[in-house]
């Protein structure tokens, strides 16, 4: 599972919840403050490529965050997405979110775990789900 969250502590809290639910996790702070996200560049993003499911909590008031979501939808159309969304979303974001599992922002780690489990199911003990 890949968790994209700009806040380190919250990202780790979600990761911890997912780990205790039996999933391997990766946590990415997203593009904010780091220049270009590799996902939107030619290099690509190995963790996103390898992820069975992506939890996006980047906050979509910024274009850079929407670009990440757009790239995820385009490059990995078969990878399920759990997206934390604000209450007021515009038409452009509405279109991007079509087919994603939505969670009202801010979601608690427990809500994220439940959403992931509803999409992906419980990982077996023998073969934990990869990040």
């Amino acid at each position: 599972m890949l968790v994209e969250h700009p806040d380190e502590a919250t990202g780790l809290a979600i990761a911890s919840g997912l780990r205790f639910a039996g999933y391997a996790v990766g946590v990415c702070p997203g593009p904010r403050g780091h220049g270009q996200c590799p996902l939107t560049g030619p290099a690509g993003c190995a963790p996103a490529h390898d992820a069975d499911l992506v939890v996006c909590s980047l906050g979509y008031e910024h274009e850079a965050a929407r670009e990440v979501l757009r790239e995820l939808r385009t490059r990995y159309p078969d990878t399920p997405l759990v997206v934390e969304v604000p209450s007021n979303i515009d038409a452009d974001l509405q279109e991007l979110l079509d087919g994603c599992k939505r969670l009202p922002a801010p979601a608690t780690p427990e809500q994220v775990v439940v959403a992931v489990q509803s999409l992906y199911g419980q990982p077996s003990k023998e073969s934990p789900a990869g990040a």
Binding site: L2, V3, G11, L12, A15, S16, R19, F20, G22, Y23, A24, V25, G26, V27, C28, P29, G30, P31, H34, G35, C37, P38, P42, A43, G44, C45, A46, P47, A48, H49, R75, Y76, P123, P128, A129, A131
Partner: protein, 392 residues
Amino acid sequence: MRSPFHSEQEAFRFVVLLILALIPVVLAAALGPTWLAAVVAAVVLGALAARMTHLRMRRLRGLEVSVKMAPPHVGSATERRVLVVANDTLREEALLGEVERLASVPGTHVFLLVPALISSGARLTGGVDGLLDQARARLKTALNRVGHEHLVAGEISEADPLRAIEDTFATFAPDEIIVSTRWERTASGLEPRLAGLVRERFAVPVRHLVFEPGSAAQEPDGETEARYRYESGDRAARKFGLKALAAAGILAAVLMSTVALIQSSERDEARAASQAAAAQAAGLPPVAKVVDLSVIAEYKRGPEGEKHDAFTTTEFYVRAGQPQELKIDNTDSVPHSITVPKAGVNIVVKPGNHTYTLLVKQPGSYLWYCTFVCDEWAMQHPGYMSGYITVT
């Protein structure tokens, strides 16, 4: 083998980039001299290397997005695993007390990881065993002091601390990591920046505890951690930059030597071709690069019908001042010679197959002969053991 590309799009971009990079090289090879193609190829490779170096330095400085990873939690939901990474601070009572406190919390397992901090210098000089023994002794003392032998375990590692922690994830899967250092790095201690690097790499909470002799644990504030990260990242980036610069210098020297060699070889070929063309234009006889001939006893029949000793080639065409190679197989059991006293030529042809150099400085036609007594008739008749050297 796994594909290095993450998507078809990436593979397509790579192919386009490769074609774009090859176009100038191919054009230079087709339209210009060989050295130009080498220079263009070097420029393209150099640009690629510079980009990779730039990216690597950004990563070392912590300017790239880093994705933290962690495996699933192991054990029941009430169990908790804490990895403590320490070396010289294992002697501190405050750290051991913290380990003891953690181990006394129900369901908590503690693992002490002691990187032996083996430098490349120690590996080269064979000082590894001493460092390993030191780390082993510290771990043993700490485990004995803490007790809780079912809940506290530990190991030493020869690997770099970050790699050692990564290895431990495979077997212990910690839910929290404690990195224990001093405020500043000591000879046998972990670097304070390690905590920041661990935070960047692993998706579990990381605590950085600083222990100074006799005092309680302290946690650096965010500013101090940022300073550690900046200083170490900057140092690592500068070190890498210097290495890259040195490599670039070596490669540039190799490239310049290669270009000089190619140019020199092309110049030699052009000079030889122009000389051949000039000689042809002047109506001069062609000159062989190497002349192969033999000396054979009773080889050629004379006008009186008897067989005489002879050189198989007796007419030589050379350029004034230019050495001419002669490969002569003297099948006779005695030496012979090609001698022209007024041209300063005296080549003694030993029995067997040998290579000689014929050099005449002044143009003209010279009669040569063999000075070793052999077939007297043949020695006096051109075409046998005598002949002409034509120098143009």
